[in-house]
């Protein structure tokens, strides 16, 4: 009996050590991805370029330093076995990466694109780290929360057009996800995220709506027909 248990001890020790390393890497990824997100939020009308550039540099650092640590650990069956350990970190990373991409180009960063950036990490003899669909979708759900904050921020900065773009983007994501989510395995946490997501989308829409209705306070370039506005009767500037 004891011999067998010696082997089990060895196995469990290795497994738990690996799990610990994965959890540590995941925490680092989470922390640094959050920093990237905050960096992007600092964006305003005037410093967009530099802010985004720094954010991208930081994101690349996260990829190279921290995601690469996961490549070694998650070879073979451990990819699914240790999913609970690394999933939060990967979700945060996806949130940061899609956020940057959207602010830069207005489009959604595909899963394939993210996975392509992960290919050069680590040893070519090892299987590359590929993010799975479930983690990608979970990260995407968190993205809408950040989009909401960004939209509110942009509105108060006067960038109404950008806010509207955020609005339609968030709507797109929500719409696409409603079809896909029911098929996810153990989708209970995803379901709560969908509810939060709908709240965020509604908040963005309501913010855009109130801006529309009270146009003069937010769009100094366009005239307004609001009788109390000092811009009444001013013709719209041709854009």
């Amino acid at each position: 009996m004891n011999d067998a248990f010696t082997k089990y001890t060895q196995y469990l020790n290795d497994l738990n050590d690996k799990r610990e390393r994965v959890v540590k890497a995941s925490r680092d990824i989470t922390m640094n991805s959050k920093k990237v997100i905050f960096q992007v939020h600092r964006m305003s009308k005037y410093n967009k370029e530099e802010v985004l550039k720094k954010a991208e540099k930081d994101l690349a650092a996260v990829t190279n330093q921290y995601m690469s640590r996961l490549v070694k650990e998650l070879q073979g069956t451990d990819f699914w076995k240790l999913r609970r350990a690394y999933s939060p970190g990967v979700q945060e990373y996806i949130e940061a990466a899609t956020f940057c991409k959207f602010c830069k180009t207005g489009t959604l960063l595909n899963l394939d694109e993210i996975n392509a950036t992960l290919l050069p990490l680590g040893d070519p003899s090892l299987e590359p780290l590929q993010i799975n669909v479930l983690d990608y979708l979970l990260g995407l759900a968190d993205l809408t929360g950040e989009l909401m904050r960004l939209a509110i921020g942009r509105i108060s900065d006067g960038e109404l057009e950008f806010a509207k773009k955020i609005c339609s983007f968030a709507r797109d994501i929500y719409r696409e996800l409603t079809l896909v989510v029911p098929h996810m395995d153990d989708s209970s946490d995803m379901k709560t995220k969908m509810d939060t997501m709908l709240q965020s989308v509604k908040k963005i829409e309501n913010a855009c709506f109130s801006v529309h209705v009270r146009g003069s306070e937010y769009m100094p370039l366009t005239g307004s027909n609001d009788p109390s506005s000092f811009l009444v009767g001013v013709p719209d500037i041709e854009l």
Binding site: M1, N2, F5, L108, E113, S168, V180, H183
Partner: protein, 277 residues
């Protein structure tokens, strides 16, 4: 092969984006009010699209001056790739969902077999164990073997995913382990080893084996059954039993102490074990 496919898809996407980069000019594209509803239906659009999307699609096509070099519909590429990506996801998830359903169907049968075995094993508490008693429970073993084989087959179709749906059958496997070890102990007084169980169930370690943590949890469950067994054996007149059980459990406990357990499920089960007085 999976990586080649996604690399290929990525290359394809990169090339198409190179031809049709999507410039972000928010101030123009979004202050466009309502547009005439010209119904455009390229082949990828499906009828359930809402009016809102048609507007957006048209608003992006309405300003060709923002098209960069090459390409007919600069902004629709991103829209269609968005749709396509999620369509791919849906198909992938449906496929693995189908797998999950098949696994769950097998698991249900495993569960009912477990119940049968457990019920016949409970008879040992009522009197001294006899070979006939155990025979009845043993007849279920081939059934289990066949069921686990079916599980292995389902997994063979998509290698590497042993743990993806592991949660679906984890607790059943633990019950199976505890039943088998209990039976073995009644017959021989010794602990059934991990490798022996794999053999009994026809599991092959390389392809579809028995997870060691599941095995250990099952052993913990089994040791919970023993105190009650001891009490009933004494009632039935076997006064030797307590000593044997105590020795066995002490050895088992010593063996478990060799493991460095984290504060997880296995540790809890280990702490929960009750000892005979």
């Amino acid at each position: 092969m999976k990586y080649m496919k996604s690399a290929f898809r990525n290359a394809h996407f990169t090339i198409s984006r190179f031809l049709n980069p999507n410039p972000l000019i928010p101030s123009i594209l979004d202050s466009v009010p309502s547009l005439p509803t010209i119904r455009v239906s390229p082949s990828f659009l499906r009828p359930r699209f809402s009016v809102e999307e048609t507007f957006r699609f048209l608003s992006q096509a309405y300003f060709p001056s923002f098209a960069m070099a090459g390409g007919d519909h600069p902004a629709t590429t991103s829209f269609e790739s968005l749709e396509k990506q999620f369509e791919d996801f849906r198909m992938q998830l449906e496929e693995s969902g189908g797998l999950g359903d098949r696994i769950r169907a097998v698991v249900l049968e495993i569960e009912s077999t477990i119940r049968l075995m457990h019920a016949s094993l409970l008879l040992v508490h009522q009197s001294r164990p006899t070979p006939e008693l155990l025979e009845k429970a043993k007849t279920q073993i081939p059934v289990l073997k066949e069921l686990y084989n079916r599980l292995a087959e389902v997994h063979r179709e998509c290698p590497g995913r042993y743990y993806r749906h592991h949660g679906d059958w984890r607790s059943q496997t633990q019950s199976v382990v505890s039943l088998l070890t209990f039976m073995h102990w009644i017959e021989t007084g010794s602990l059934l080893m991990h490798l022996d169980i794999e053999e009994k169930l026809g599991l092959n370690n390389l392809e579809f084996g028995l997870d060691i943590e599941d095995y250990l949890v099952g052993v913990c469950f089994m040791s919970n059954e023993l105190p009650r067994y001891v009490v009933n054996q004494v009632i039935a007149g076997d006064y030797d039993c307590p000593r044997k059980v105590l020795k066995f459990l002490t050895d088992l406990h010593a063996a478990f102490l060799m493991l460095n357990l984290r504060n997880d499920f296995l540790r809890k089960k280990f702490d929960d074990r009750s000892f005979p007085q």
